[in-house]
């Protein structure tokens, strides 16, 4: 008896050269997209192994020696553990996966192995996006799918033979035609409202603002050109001098480092003028702070307000985050300062900086109760005292503030903010350091503010009776253009060794629109935005069911379009034959089917006998058809038209038997 199977197990032939090459290329691409987070020696080692295996199969042919496999796996595991300390987690896990993928190539000798390898490569490609969701990275990874799909395609027998680069083209075509369906699915796949399993933050060190500050810390940050956040304003944006984004408010000082302390409590009261509403797209930084324009009026959905009206995030920002806020540029923050808070904002470690303390006390005696005059005196000191702004200041010792104020006279925002705050506290004015971002690049084309890490800034707030906390930026006293024109102008002037042309800066800032669009449209497309998707159509909160329904409708539409494409046939150029086929179909429905190898004359005569009521029409049709077919080399157009019309209008009634 014949064996009948639904799935026929394909006989395993040895793998041809082309799919092997494509698989090697796939793995190379996977290695490439993961390289930024892998240790260099591991990337190079794996690339070397890949190359060796490729050469070995082409030169010598056949399987890699089996005794190599186990030691290599052990070596891989040892390498991963020695570098990361564990096999589990995002970085070690992906490093291990890539290593296994490369080793898989060592035993790839059959189509089945290649198939498994290509599928696994797709998975590892996706894992690369866990590290960076940027647009360029995503597109690179999507292109990484091409060799993987081409590998699968090259495994099929009797395919058109082309060169290796051309093998990638059909895969590209496949991805392109599936793009609409992919977008529909992306928009309508219901998102999870809460994660199914723990998504503990990554431990990857990212440069960014840190919750504490000691002078000199910012250096890495100020030379970092990566975007920190992008802000779009409703209405006119505030002028450059008001673009102070507060992140951390630091009140505790130990003589060296400012930190936040453990203050908790309800946010300070604020009386305010007109508010500005704006949306921030914050790049991932691993921190739990949401920078907000001075001073935020309420907490966004993603965070809460601290006691000093700084906005704290509920979860570490490990992925780009979009939030919307209102802030008032004119405000009176914390009109009444209670004794405990006052004490906190006046404390100074005793055995540091005696000269600065003395200067503060002297100012107090000199100006009496006029706190504002004291602050002016300090700013005047910075402005006229021979201070300079530089990103590479001389190192400071134990009494950092004293050495800076009376010795080196050079530093950047942190030094000024820290010294100013120490001076104010010494004079008996409650003061604190605030870190955040200042300035940014206003992108005219897309109307948003791009804030880079280099825009990180530190300033001070002092408490004045009747006015509450007042922002004072001592750096502005030294270098006003830092505040009015932004960090780029200042830093470019300061560090002569790295001075990009204006053209390059402008080009880069304009290109950033694409990233802004990507972050807002794709990365920031969360549950809330998804549910608000149908607002233009009058549905304010689309439920999961509705989304699923829309997904189904979208998928069906795509399927219908795809089927149309799959079944589309070129219309028959022979119009007479088309008309004749229509006639045959109708006559067959009426009970007169044309027999195999029956001539038209015989067929029409038979039909006329079977359908006496249509005899005349059928005879006319037969004459026309025969003339059309056999009387002319090139049948006249009106005759063809005549026949087609007659065929179309002919509707025989069924034979009654």
């Amino acid at each position: 008896m014949k064996r009948w199977r639904l799935f026929r197990r394909a006989r395993q032939q040895p793998l041809e050269r082309r799919p092997f090459d494509l698989l090697s290329l796939t793995i190379l691409v996977v290695l490439g997209v993961h390289a930024p987070h892998l240790p260099v020696w591991l990337s190079l080692g794996l690339a070397l192994l890949l190359g060796m295996r490729w050469l070995q199969r082409h030169r010598l042919g056949g399987r890699a020696p089996a005794y190599l496999k186990l030691p290599l796996i052990a070596l891989l595991a040892a390498a991963v553990i020695s570098h990361y300390g564990t096999l589990f987690g995002r970085e070690p896990g992906s490093a291990l996966a890539i290593g296994l993928l490369v080793l898989k190539l060592f035993e790839t000798e059959s189509p089945r192995d290649a198939r498994v390898g290509a599928a696994f490569a797709c998975f590892v490609l996706m894992a690369a996006l866990l590290f960076d969701q940027g647009m360029v990275e995503t597109i690179l990874v999507a292109f990484g799918l091409l060799p993987a799909l081409a590998t699968l395609r090259a495994l099929q027998p009797a395919r058109p033979q082309t060169s290796l680069p051309r093998e990638l083209l059909p895969a590209l075509g496949l991805l392109l035609i599936s793009l609409p369906l992919a977008l529909v699915a992306f928009v309508f796949v219901p998102r999870l409202s809460s994660p199914l399993w723990g998504t503990n933050g990554n431990t990857q060190a990212r440069t960014g603002l840190s919750p504490d500050m000691s002078p000199g810390d910012f250096f890495d940050l100020l030379t970092d050109d990566r975007p920190a956040m992008r802000v779009t304003f409703e209405g006119t944006p505030p002028p450059n001098t008001q673009r102070y984004f507060r992140a951390y408010v630091l009140s505790n000082y130990d003589g060296r480092t400012w930190n936040r302390g453990d203050a908790d409590g309800s946010p300070a009261v604020v009386a305010h003028g007109p508010a500005i509403r704006y949306t921030v797209v914050l790049e991932a930084n691993g921190q739990r702070v949401l920078p907000a324009l001075d001073v935020p009026l309420e907490a966004p959905r993603e965070g809460h307000l601290g006691p000093d009206r700084e906005v704290r995030a509920d979860r570490p920002v490990n992925d780009p985050l979009v939030y919307t806020l209102s802030s008032a540029p004119r405000y009176q923050l914390q009109g009444q300062l209670d004794a405990r808070a006052r004490q906190r904002d006046l404390q100074l470690p005793a055995d540091f900086d005696p000269r600065a303390h003395a200067l503060g006390r002297r100012w107090r005696q000199q100006f009496g109760d006029d706190d504002q005059a004291i602050a002016q005196a300090a700013l005047k000191l910075f402005h006229d005292g021979g201070f300079s702004y530089t990103l590479s200041p001389a190192p400071l010792g134990h009494n950092a503030v004293d050495e800076f104020l009376f010795g080196t006279h050079e530093g950047f925002c942190e030094h000024y903010a820290s010294s100013f705050t120490v001076l104010m506290r010494a004079a008996g004015i409650p003061a604190r350091v605030v870190t955040g971002y200042q300035g940014g690049y206003w992108n005219d084309i897309a109307s948003y503010l791009l804030v880079r890490q280099a825009d990180a800034h530190a300033w001070s707030e002092i408490w004045l009776a009747g006015r509450g906390w007042v922002r004072v930026d001592p750096t502005a006293a030294v270098r006003p253009e830092r505040v009015s024109q932004g960090a780029a102008a200042t830093n470019a002037a300061t560090s002569a060794d790295w001075a990009p042309t204006q053209w390059w800066l402008g080009w880069r800032n304009r290109w950033d629109i694409v990233n802004q669009w990507w972050n807002q449209g794709v990365i920031g497309f969360d549950t809330l935005r998804q549910h608000g998707l149908l607002t233009p159509f009058g549905v304010h909160d689309a439920s999961e069911g509705l989304l699923a329904l829309l997904l189904a409708i979208g998928a069906s539409l795509s399927a219908a379009l795809g089927l149309l494409w799959a079944m589309w046939k070129r219309p028959d150029a022979d119009q007479a034959r088309t008309a004749m086929q229509l006639l045959e179909k109708r006559l067959a429905a009426a009970g007169v089917a044309r027999r195999h190898s029956e001539g038209p004359q015989h067929f029409f005569s038979r039909a006329a006998r079977a359908l006496p009521s249509h005899r005349d029409t059928l005879e006319h049709l037969m004459r026309t058809y025969l003339e059309l077919r056999y009387a002319h080399d090139e049948p006249p157009a009106d005759l063809l038209k005549n026949f087609r019309r007659a065929a179309r209008d002919f509707r025989p009634r069924r034979v009654v038997k």
């Binding site: 969701q133 027998p157 799959a566």
Partner: protein, 318 residues
């Protein structure tokens, strides 16, 4: 187990007319179209779907939209590959089946002629029993695929049902269609091995037919097509019509007049086997044969086509 599968199949054929509609033989050309192409995921396709689901769940859990988009893209490409698989079979047609000569018990080479529709058809497999051949057909092109059909008995043998399938383009989907051409191939009888030569009637020796030779045997009237140099011009001058010299020569091989009735002592199949052997032997040395069968009387002749004619007649015997 196999018995259970067979019973299930019979049940399915009874219950699901859509599956069995094309299990009846049908005339050539057979065109594949949407009503007769079926698609299921392959094992690899099912595993790949599970992988996609894992990727989807991971992307959703980590609210990683870039990964989600990539997963959607890969999923959509997977679905699109299903349409490509369908399209690869759609509009493919089997236009002709050519048989070759084969004697019972030996495989017969079948030539299946496939022509393409408006687009190219890549990586199609045709499967007959356990034989699989992969081929591709260009748009409006023609491809001939050869398969070996096992034969057992002489006579008309209907073609078995053929399966056309493809895993094109990514091996994720198995698209297939059954075709059952209403065509039979004629299998020649197997000659017996060893045995007596035909006993020739003694008087036949005298009536040796002379064939074209060098001696002029007679003159006859000119017939259209006679070579000019055979015309007897001198004799023709005395007649109204042209006369032609008729050359004759004794045949080198004596002819065999094979007769079904001479072998009355044998069973029918044994008679056929013996006649087949004689025909074969005569064919090898170029001996003219004639064959008398209850169904047919074939005159003297020799050569390959004559042999094929006689073998066909033998094969067709009831």
């Amino acid at each position: 187990m196999e018995e259970a599968i067979r019973r299930f199949r019979l049940w399915a054929e009874r219950r699901l007319p859509a599956l069995t509609r094309y299990r009846r033989p049908e005339d050539l050309p057979i065109v594949l179209h949407r009503r007769r192409i079926y698609i299921v995921p392959t094992g690899f396709g099912a595993a790949f779907t599970v992988l996609l689901l894992v990727m989807l769940l991971g992307a959703l859990n980590y609210t990683n939209n870039a990964a989600l988009m990539l997963t959607c893209l890969l999923g959509a490409a997977t679905s699109a590959s299903m349409l490509v698989a369908f399209r690869s079979l759609n509009d493919l047609r089997l236009t002709a089946v050519r048989q070759s000569e084969a004697i019972a018990g030996e495989p017969m080479v079948l030539h299946l002629v496939f022509t393409g529709g408006d687009h190219a058809h890549a990586s199609i497999h045709v499967e007959m029993d356990d034989q699989i051949e992969a081929f591709a057909v260009q748009a409006r092109g023609e491809t001939v695929v050869s398969l070996n059909l096992p034969t057992q008995h002489r006579g008309w043998q209907p073609l078995p049902r053929l399966k056309l399938w493809t895993h094109w383009p990514l091996g994720l989907f198995h698209a297939w269609s059954w075709i059952y051409p209403d065509q039979s191939v004629l299998v020649w009888p197997r000659p017996e091995v060893g045995g007596p030569s035909p006993s020739l009637p003694a008087d036949d020796e005298k009536k040796q037919r002379l064939h074209q030779g060098e001696d002029i045997a007679a003159l006859r009237a000119y017939r259209a097509g006679d070579p000019q140099r055979h015309i007897a011009w001198k004799h023709s001058a005395r007649h109204e019509h042209l006369l032609v010299k008729d050359f004759e020569q004794p045949e080198a091989q004596e002819e065999w007049r094979l007769d079904w009735r001479q072998l009355a002592q044998l069973l029918p199949e044994a008679r056929i086997a013996r006649l087949a052997r004689w025909l074969g032997e005569a064919e090898v040395v170029g001996r003219p044969t004639s064959l008398w069968l209850p169904s047919e009387d074939i005159g003297l002749g020799h050569g390959r086509s004559h042999y094929a004619h006689c073998m066909n007649a033998l094969a067709r015997l009831p």
